[in-house]
């Protein structure tokens, strides 16, 4: 588990992180969401032990990360622009990383290079941006670490590659208890990968929740009420977060379990009633609007 407690970091007059408390549990894919300047990269760098926090703590498995050789053997950080040794090939990089990370799996790295169709003897300087991202992921996946921190690594990957990586993550999570942490400023890019989402904004944590739990805890109901009194009863008896009316058709996002919602609506006369699946986007909008924040800016059409 990666745990940050009241973590703060400033760069001059700019407060990048302001006393954030965040927990990244093992065995899940954690998505770190936020706009540019929210503090995602800063958090990841603190978690990777690159930066030293001004206040608070950041620990991996209960041990502080900063300048801790043993803990850092369990963490592999992939920044947005991964640095490759000058004039090197993928083979050279694998050899280098293998010398640094004691559990680096050379066989796996070669397999993954084949899988992604990357020539191990070709100069990396000639790779495209997407190929470089793939290579950085290969190095990370082969490193044998327990935590893989990816800073906007998925931004720019094509959907096929993204799916491939997702399945690789799943396999690694089963095989060696890998915990990937992926940051992005695009919800749609990571919604089908992550299990848990943390939302940073202006150096603070807006929310941090398990996606399934979020989905389980929110219901989207479409119904036509028999009478206005039934409508009032419905709105007053349930925690309606968002509602929309089109003629007689009401669409509501209600906080509560499906069972509770169904039981409650049994007591209300409706002409039409249906519980619909919620997308992550809708969940987010609901959750963040409830705290007065417009999350639509994360959703790129």
């Amino acid at each position: 588990m990666i745990e940050a407690v009241r973590l703060s970091k400033s760069f001059g007059d700019v407060k990048a992180l302001n006393k954030i408390t965040l927990e990244i549990a093992d065995g899940q894919i954690f998505g770190l969401l936020g706009t540019n300047g929210a503090g995602k990269s800063t958090f990841l760098r603190l978690a990777a032990g690159i930066l030293k926090q001004d206040e608070g703590t950041v620990c991996a498995d209960g041990r502080p990360v900063y300048d801790n050789q043993l803990v850092k053997q369990e963490i592999f950080f992939i920044p947005n622009d991964y640095y490759f040794l000058p004039n090197s090939t993928p083979e050279d990089m694998c050899r280098y990383i293998a010398d640094i990370y004691p559990r680096f799996d050379t066989y796996k790295s070669r397999q993954l290079l084949k899988f992604f169709n990357l020539n191990s003897d070709r100069k990396i300087a000639g790779f495209s941006k997407g190929m470089k991202k793939q290579l950085s992921l290969i190095l990370g996946l082969s490193s044998g670490t327990r935590y893989l921190l990816c800073d906007e690594t998925f931004d720019g990957l094509d959907p096929v590659a993204r799916q491939a990586v997702k399945s690789l993550f799943a396999r690694e999570m089963v095989d060696r208890d890998l915990t990937p942490v992926i940051s992005s400023h695009n919800l749609r890019e990571i919604e089908d990968i992550c299990d848990h989402i943390g939302l940073l904004h202006e150096g603070g944590v807006l929310l941090s929740q398990d996606i399934e739990k979020m989905k389980l805890g929110l219901q989207k109901v479409q119904c036509v009420f028999a009478s206005a009194e039934d409508r009032v009863k419905a709105f007053s008896g349930m925690d309606v977060m968002v509602s929309e009316s089109r003629g007689k058709l009401d669409t509501m996002t209600i906080r509560g379990t499906r069972e509770d919602t169904e039981n409650y609506f049994r007591g209300i006369h409706t002409v039409f009633f249906e519980i619909l699946p919620l997308t992550l986007e809708e969940i987010f909008i609901s959750e963040t609007e409830a705290v007065g924040y417009d999350v639509r800016k994360f959703i790129i059409e």
């Binding site: 760069f11 760098r45 690159i50 930066l51 030293k52 050789q69 850092k72 280098y96």
Partner: protein
């Protein structure tokens, strides 16, 4: 080795391998330099020496000595290339830690499971390995080549080993400075500027104090021993100090060092080497601490630590202002010897201070722009700009008004160990090969200790240097009284607002008259202080006698006390030539009388030239040792009052050249009080006729002024009167401005009989005579009335 030790060594080796693979160009550069400097250059020089020596038919021993000289000069402590090591050190330091300038690289390296200490250690060690391995390997090759070609002896090998140690030291110190530059800055260009700043600011600061002193202080004096022996951060200064400030003659001599010379060299370089050791250790520790404290997010910033920015900005600005002020004063030709006339002072100082302030503000603005990478921030942090200007003006004012009391300072005798007094006007000059312990023989069969082109070794020392370094006056009460009088003389002249002293340009506006001298104090705290003074002509003679009559004073200014090497050589020549010293004609060979069988000396013959305004004797003087003994006795009996009460009879010049590297020449006045000396000269046929004895047929007096005037006197009485008013020579000790009449040229024309026994070559145009100021005959005064 335990498993964990094995593992960490294995990891260390792998990390080193990876680092070196990314430092190929640096390793290549260093390797190439050392290959060329050591085995290639040594082989080439040895080959050339052998070829050249064979062409000159040098003996085997001389050939070997030449090779020894080459090796010693090229690879030893007199090598001129230590500044390259400084450059390589700084380059390596910046290169090793340059990843800190790139955020991408920082992400890559700092996320890796390696502790900061381990990373620092690996990088630090890598730079040292990249330098020391090619150095030691190629140095070793050069030594092997030298041994194989019989070009090395024990002492030279010792010298080479010590120099190798020094090279490593210089590298470590410079390396630490290069790393420090990286730790303090966030990009490559500023790091390079920072390393230059660190190397230079201490040295430059000292140099500016010297420049300010020499510009503003009327009694300013500098002796080499006052130069700092080293600066903590300036490895460059520490390496060049010996060659710039050392008074050791061996620095540029071409022969291998002997044991005592090596010892002296080591002593001379030790303070600088200690500074380098301190730098390597202290700055190295500082580097590690800063590496630990440095924020990784600082990549790209100019100077990392905010307080440091202001300090550097102020230092650079103040330096710039002071340099500008000195330049402006230089443009006006103002220095401590040429003061500013009162009516010009205001305007010149306006230029000086305005120029200084302008440069201060400009430098401060440029620094701020560099810090913020934004030209619009030129006037940012205005307080530091204003502070720089204020400091600059304060410093200039401090020197201008002599707030430290430099021009009034005379040390108390209780705080002074000893002192020396060097007088420049009319004093003996000499250049003597000074052989300290050249007769010390080494037991080594390989240590011949001589160069193939010289029969001797040692430094050439001149009169001023010798007096400065060897005179030990212990009657400090008298000396400081003289010094006080001399300094008051100078400061009074400065305050008069006129030109303080006569310049070389010969300005007539003389406000301070007296004997130009330098006093050098060696204080009990080990420091050296010096002052230029002008001893007033009105100084108390008793005080002067107390100082100038001291044996340590006399022995330090008269060259005859340093002629042991000459006496040895002459004695050897006498034996070799089997000269019969009982035969006057063999003891003395007069050269400049017509009919002399030869007119010049040959190699290794001591030449004596004794002359006054109207007569001269040139001779080979094999009796030199006897003459030297007599001079030494006579000199020890004379002092200031003796010299001021009588005029010199003539000048004695001694010259010796063995045409093989040993050359000696000195000159000094001879007085009637040198009774023994005169006796020895006369016994050996050296007699100088006085001016009054010469039968002049006419005397021409000329005055060069706005109009040229000339008068010829042929009347015997007039000639006699003029001759009676003449000195034997215008040179001599403790002469004053008013001793002789400078406005008149007096040429005596002897008759033809004179040239029967005198050289027409020397006196063919007549004898240039010297009239005493207070004895000029009335008829001459009438003929040449004062203008």
């Amino acid at each position: 080795m335990s498993n964990s030790e094995q593992k960490s060594f294995y990891t260390f080796g792998k990390i080193q391998k990876h680092i070196i693979s990314r430092r190929i160009w640096l390793a290549g550069l260093m390797t190439l330099y050392f290959i060329l400097y050591y085995p290639v250059a040594v082989a080439m020089q040895i080959t050339r020496s052998n070829q050249s020596g064979m062409m000159r038919s040098l003996s085997t021993e001389m050939l070997r000595n030449d090779r020894l000289s080459l090796i010693s000069a090229w690879m030893g402590m007199r090598s001129s290339f230590l500044f390259v090591i400084v450059f390589l050190g700084i380059l390596a330091g910046i290169q090793e830690f340059s990843y800190l300038f790139s955020s991408d690289k920082i992400d890559f390296y700092e996320s890796q499971p390696l502790s900061r200490k381990a990373r620092f250690g690996n990088l630090y060690l890598n730079g040292i390995l990249l330098f020391s391995i090619p150095l030691i390997v190629n140095w070793g090759l050069a030594v092997l080549i030298s041994i194989a070609t019989n070009s090395l002896n024990a002492i030279t090998l010792e010298e080479l080993l010590y120099q190798l140690f020094r090279i490593l030291l210089v590298f470590l110190a410079s390396y630490s400075i290069g790393i420090l530059s990286v730790m303090l800055t966030g990009n490559l260009i500023v790091a390079v500027l920072m390393s230059i700043f660190l190397e230079v600011f201490g040295w430059l600061g000292w140099y500016l104090t010297v420049a300010l002193g020499s510009t503003f202080y009327i009694t300013w004096a500098f002796v080499n021993s006052q130069a700092p022996r080293g600066f903590l951060l300036s490895t460059l200064y520490n390496t060049i100090y010996p060659s710039v400030y050392s008074s050791m003659g061996v620095m540029y001599a071409r022969y291998p060092l002997m044991a005592y010379e090596l010892k002296n060299m080591v002593s001379s370089t030790l303070p600088g080497d200690f500074c380098n050791i301190a730098c390597a250790v202290l700055i190295g520790v500082c580097d590690l601490m800063l590496f630990s404290r440095r924020k990784m997010e600082a990549a790209g910033e100019s100077v990392l630590f905010r307080p440091l920015r202001a300090v550097i900005k102020i230092i650079v600005s103040v330096y710039g202002g002071i340099i500008t002020a000195l330049l402006v004063l230089g443009i006006f030709g103002i220095n401590n010897r040429v003061g500013i006339a009162a009516e010009n002072q205001l305007s010149i100082y306006v230029y000086v201070f305005a120029g200084a302030l302008f440069m201060c503000f400009l430098a401060a603005g440029v620094m701020q722009s560099i810090y913020d990478f934004n030209i619009r921030r030129f006037f940012g942090s205005v307080w530091s700009m204003l502070l720089s200007g204020a400091l600059c003006l304060l410093i200039l004012g401090f020197y201008h008004f002599d707030l430290s009391g430099y021009d009034r300072w005379v040390p108390s005798p209780e705080k002074t160990a000893y002192a020396s007094l060097v007088v420049y006007d009319g004093f003996p000059w000499f250049n003597i090969p000074y052989e300290a312990d050249s007769d010390i023989a080494s037991d080594s069969p390989y240590d011949t200790g001589i160069s193939p082109y010289s029969t001797s070794r040692g430094s050439m020392i001149n009169s001023n240097d010798y007096a400065e370094n060897n005179m030990r006056i212990t009657d400090l009460k008298s000396l400081t009284a003289i010094a006080s009088a001399g300094m008051e003389n100078m400061t009074a002249a400065k305050q008069s607002g006129k030109t303080a002293v006569v310049t070389d340009a010969g300005t007539n506006e003389m406000a301070a008259s007296g004997w130009n001298a330098k006093v050098i104090y060696k204080l009990k705290n080990g420091k050296t202080a010096a002052r230029n003074i002008r001893i007033p002509y009105s100084v108390d003679p008793e005080l002067m006698d107390k100082v100038t009559g001291q044996e340590e004073y006399i022995r330090s200014i008269f060259p005859v006390f340093l002629d042991d090497s000459l006496r040895n050589k002459i004695n050897k020549e006498i034996q070799a030539r089997q000269i019969d010293m009982s035969d006057p004609e063999q003891r003395t060979i007069i050269l400049n009388r017509p009919g002399s069988f030869r007119g010049v000396t040959t190699a290794s013959e001591p030449k004596l030239y004794f002359y006054n305004d109207a007569d001269s004797v040139t001779a080979v003087c094999w009796f030199y040792t006897e003459l030297s003994d007599a001079l030494r006795e006579d000199l020890l009996k004379m002092s200031f009052s003796d010299y001021t009460q009588e005029d010199a009879l003539g000048n004695l010049n001694i010259e010796f050249d063995d045409y093989n590297g040993y050359y000696l020449n000195y000159e000094m006045p001879v007085y009637a009080g040198y009774e023994k000396t005169i006796k020895v000269l006369e016994e050996n046929g050296i007699r100088l006729a006085s001016v009054q004895e010469i039968p002049f047929e006419s005397i021409v007096v000329r005055r060069w002024s706005e109009t040229y005037e000339e008068k010829t006197y042929k009347d015997a009485n007039e000639i006699r009167s003029i001759l009676d008013a003449c000195m034997q020579t215008n040179s001599g000790l403790w002469k004053t401005d008013s001793n002789w009449e400078k406005s008149l040229d007096v040429i005596g024309q002897p008759g033809e009989a004179y040239y029967e026994t005198r050289s027409r070559y020397e006196f063919g145009d007549g004898c240039s005579l010297t009239l005493k100021t207070d004895l000029v005959p009335d008829f001459v005064k009438a003929d040449f009335p004062k203008e």
